[in-house]
Symmetry: C2
Subunit: 261 residues, 2 copies
């Protein structure tokens, strides 16, 4: 006899929900999808071959786990409609506290994947999931879900998770913006962006080995005023990037100074 | 009979010189190393098994190529002491123009490797070298040197190179500073930095495919004021990183807005 599969309801049908649902559906049974947008609910329902609803009152109460993957701002409202007794209820947000779920069940928690999600994203192997739970039972179930998805669970408090979310903004969103700036500067001069790729990969391979402060190089780090002046001159018609250049140069120098102290 | 190897003199014995000299010494003959610091000259001379000097007047005039890999600020002074007729003279700087070498020889040029160099760096395979030359002869010789080192030559003018150097500061130095900030934020909360590594690798693999503006995600890009407010609050005791957070958020929004126009 086949072991009984975990039954899951997905609340939300956006990029995160779609990606996690696909990863879970290989070993668990997704029985329903909710989205306030009918087209989204229907689309994900069709992908998974399960029913869908846009009515929070029609959420199926037979599941073992309810995964709330809606926008951060919508979590509170969605949860206020759920009365799931002891069923597992988890959200997938980096910046919303665990307590936001306490009215929905006695077994609740957080399962935040550290991956950026866009349309058609596939869940990568060994992605860190920052998890937190209201009970031992909830923790065990969340760990099982993470394992099912091939992820790696890290137990992290809501307070730590907020900090990690902030750090991820620096490491991912702000880093990407650095590439946006570099791309714009090169495009203006008809230089292919590809030329920078080996350097970018090296930037990462270097700090992989430890504290990135030890890998800081460049005109700001070595106090090369002449080059900094040249760069500012080159940016005189780009106030947006000039402002970034100035502040980042100052900040690198502050960090270098703090390191020496 | 073994083909005659290219004879090279290295002017400079720092990280860049050491790394390039090691890469070249497999197929060319380094006959001399100059550094104004005797210990550096001696150290690199010993590694390469060649003579060394700290006197610019004693530079060996029998070489085929002279590679000037000193600090940007020192290039002008060093070059003013060289009278090398038609021998190849190249510098390795990203931000100094080709014309800085014109008094040293009629065959001169630039050979700037797009790699960051620290102590014990090894020259990576297929590193882009931005090259520029005063003559066809110089160009051919520079291309041969790049090939000998396993690099990939890109013909780029001094004006373009200055822009590329600026873009590299964004893509490498400023990116590294984002990791410095993330590291500091996590350290304060006892969260291992390793948790962020898959996300960081993904950031890069994503934009590898095209314009990084298309990969921009996060609270700034989606105008998530609530999360931005939370993040600013978390940074209230870190004026350095708060200033960065504010300006980068603003800049991401400017870019997103410009994209829509």
């Amino acid at each position: 006899m086949k072991p009984r599969q975990t039954k899951i309801v997905f609340i939300g049908a956006g990029n995160v929900a779609t990606c996690l649902a696909k990863a879970l559906s290989k070993k668990a049974e997704i029985i329903q999808v909710y989205s306030k947008t009918k087209a989204s609910a229907q689309k994900l329902g069709n992908i998974l071959g399960c029913s869908f609803t846009r009515d929070l009152k029609k959420i199926n109460s037979d599941a073992d786990a309810y995964i709330v993957a809606v926008k951060d701002d919508a979590i509170e409202n969605v949860v206020s409609h759920l009365q799931l007794k002891d069923k597992l209820v988890v959200h997938t947000s980096g910046s919303v506290g665990i307590e936001s779920l306490r009215k929905a069940s006695i077994n609740y928690g957080v399962m935040w994947p550290l991956q950026t999600f866009s349309k058609n994203s596939v869940l990568q192997k060994n992605i860190p999931f920052c998890i937190e739970a209201s009970s031992k039972k909830a923790l065990k179930l969340i760990e099982e879900l993470v394992k099912t998805m091939g992820g790696k669970a890290y137990s992290i408090s809501s307070k730590q998770r907020a900090k990690l979310h902030l750090a991820a903004v620096f490491a991912n969103n702000f880093t990407n913006h650095m590439f946006v700036a570099a791309y714009a500067i090169l495009k203006d001069s008809n230089i292919p962006f590809d030329v920078l790729l080996p350097l970018i990969h090296e930037t990462i391979n270097k700090f992989d080995k430890g504290n990135p402060l030890a890998s800081q190089t460049g005109p700001a780090a070595r106090g090369d005023k002449k080059t900094i002046k040249k760069h500012k001159k080159l940016l005189e018609n780009s106030p947006q990037y000039l402002a970034l250049y100035k502040l980042l140069t100052k900040s690198i120098q502050l960090s270098a100074h703090a390191k020496k102290l």
